[in-house]
Symmetry: C2
Subunit: 406 residues, 2 copies
């Protein structure tokens, strides 16, 4: 757990663990009573990086964020509302997103171009702008170093727990911190679930270097959970680096490598938090494909297994139905030899080469009693390896999504 890596003197404060960040989450009235507006502010101009959905349908806040990130050098704040995605809202929706940035800038005494805007919730409805604007004004007065949990809470939709992580570590004798919050729901299938992540650090990192760090860590964490960041209309991960620690991270240095490792660990933990909180999930499933022709093939196979409703319902039912797993790899589109396929579940090899079943079903099924399932799929076909994370698939998923808007 990355929390445990915190330096002793340090208190866990999520995204406000890095120096010079404040945040808050409030209820502005989009939702009936739950918190629905988060504000994250850096005391100092920060560089920023972002990764965004690849959906052809891009929500208004995504467009505004991409413009600001492309045009600007330094940034100061992130505003995020939940309960309404401001997606498929046309020109009016775009104006609303731009106005949120303006109103936040006014309230904070900064420029609109320094503000990122994010939304999550129902698609196709206009934002109640009067409530949102009043909320922004209120939130701007209430940000503090201690309001990191309320911010994490205010970006939730069907999430059942707050996803907040931080890590602090020494670089050249100076303490550096990274904090992050995330939200994710509907992650049983990568179809358009909204996944948001907001990351802060008090390291000083050039914009390009920060983008490289975030993109690379994102690729092996948020993009490896079956939320599939790139298919929602609203997905985004934004990272701010304000330099308040006094430590500068430059590409190609050992500090860079250390920082990258810490960032990867933090994003991985947030990713696992999201999967664990999968709608209706009862088990966290880590799928590692080893021995594929290439890493890309391994990822393709792992992702296909992670997507298979038949595999996920079998794991939910604690049925070690290995035929479904092998068949999923079979239709993933990669080259491999089914005769050499082996499956290990939580350290127990249940299938050896040439379809040799090592254990009676009833015993093999015992391996699925745990809450964390490690699925190792060995192809013996090359050196490619990759890991994805997903969760099992229960009746509860259908209940949640059948009545989402009611």
């Amino acid at each position: 757990m990355f929390q445990e890596k915190l330096i002793e003197s340090k208190v866990n404060k999520g995204i406000t663990t890095p120096k010079g960040f404040k945040s808050v989450g409030i209820h502005c009235g989009i939702k009936k009573s739950k918190k629905d507006l988060a504000l994250i502010v850096s005391d100092f101009p920060a560089t920023a990086a972002g990764v965004f959905t690849l959906n052809k349908v891009q929500a208004a806040p995504v467009l505004v964020c991409k413009e600001n990130l492309t045009n600007g050098d330094t940034f100061r704040a992130i505003v995020c509302n939940s309960g309404n995605a401001n997606a498929c809202t046309g020109e009016k929706g775009y104006q609303d997103a731009a106005n949120i940035a303006k109103e936040a800038a006014n309230a904070l005494g900064i420029n609109a171009e320094e503000v990122f805007v994010s939304s999550t919730g129902v698609i196709g409805e206009k934002l109640p702008m009067d409530k949102v604007i009043a909320g922004i004004k209120k939130a701007a007065k209430e940000t503090s170093e201690n309001e990191f949990l309320s911010a994490a809470e205010a970006i939730m939709t069907t999430d059942t727990f707050v996803k907040s992580r931080q890590t602090s570590f020494m670089l050249n004798g100076i303490e550096v911190s990274i904090g992050g919050i995330a939200k994710g729901s509907g992650m049983i299938h990568p179809n358009m679930a909204t996944m948001l992540g907001f990351i802060t650090t008090d390291a000083s990192i050039e914009k390009q270097t920060l983008q490289k760090l975030l993109s690379s860590a994102n690729k092996k964490t948020f993009n490896r959970i079956v939320v599939d960041g790139d298919t929602s209309t609203n997905d985004m991960v934004i990272m701010l680096a304000n330099g308040a620690s006094g430590i500068r991270i430059e590409d190609g240095t050992k500090e860079y490598n250390l920082f990258e490792e810490e960032l990867f660990g933090l994003l991985k933990n947030l990713s696992m938090d999201i999967v664990k909180d999968g709608e209706g999930a009862t088990k966290l499933i880590e799928i590692t494909v080893d021995g594929a022709l290439t890493d890309a093939d391994a990822e393709k196979a792992a992702r296909t297994v992670a997507l298979s409703p038949l595999v996920k319902t079998a794991i939910y039912g604690e049925d070690a139905n290995w035929g479904r797993i092998l068949a999923a790899v079979g239709y993933s589109g990669i080259e491999f030899n089914p005769d050499k396929f082996e499956i290990t579940i939580n350290e127990v090899k249940i299938l050896k080469q040439n379809y040799f079943v090592t254990l009676p079903n009833a015993i093999a099924n015992q391996t699925l009693k745990a809450e964390k399932i490690n699925l190792l799929l060995e192809l013996h076909f090359g050196e490619g390896k990759a890991t994805c994370w997903t969760c099992d698939f229960s009746e509860e998923y259908v209940k949640i999504n059948g009545s989402y808007r009611t």
Copy 2:
């Protein structure tokens, strides 16, 4: 309904409606008590055509069928067992499938190369060959023109009703018939559900012409339902043409076109039967995408919508959540302009261009009260058009698949 097209004098007899075919379904003991072995026999040598799964992992019977179809000119029988897929069973499984053909050939007094073998059920378990062989011997004695329903029943797994269709029509004053049975389950997602179809006709059709007819009709019917014939380890559709009607169908004639139309109709009806019987399904959904750049784009978009658990759970919950539909088209990978997107549900246009919502949610939701849902998605981007069929997604799907082997 194609049944209604039957010529008056004709009795509905499914795959034995065409002259010179007999069939039967019996219980041989793979399953506890339900029928699990079907035999279809042509009195005369028949040409044959087949379409098979594209999964890298191909079940033993698929391999045997492909060999026989490639090497042989005429064929006489199809044996199909349910309850065990004979997939991922290695060399032993292949021998078992080959032996089934041999045993059926012996019992029927024909050659093993004239027999097609098919299996559906659990993957990775060896067939109880003593039971299967005894069953084949029994079945060979019991085939008749009236045992078409027991054959349809014996190929079922989680199917809740028998899928049997026939059509008879006049060609040059002579009556020609086509009959078909099918089974399909787990069709909520195209991942590896087994779909089987066996089609008979008493027309005389050359092997190549028959393959052309079957492939073309299959492409727009079985391949357009979200069972996705090409991802299971066992999927196959086999068609036999025994010429008993005396009518010959040749490519490029008006008889060919008429026959093709009838075959398409029959396969479409069987496809709809499969979707209707989707595991846990409560609604049949027809998705038509119109105005895409190309037909291929339209199919891609329709298929993506048909696959989206979020769309399918929303329809199950009778929630006209159009944002989910638009977002699914958005991540389908096709080119289109979201601003021009329009949605019509059961003749009611609920979304017009520029995200104009024509009705309050509560009223739009009424369009989903029906059991058959027609979803028309207009892109206004080109001339491409395609239709796919799927079903909604209920808690029951998870229940069925979580306890499939128990």
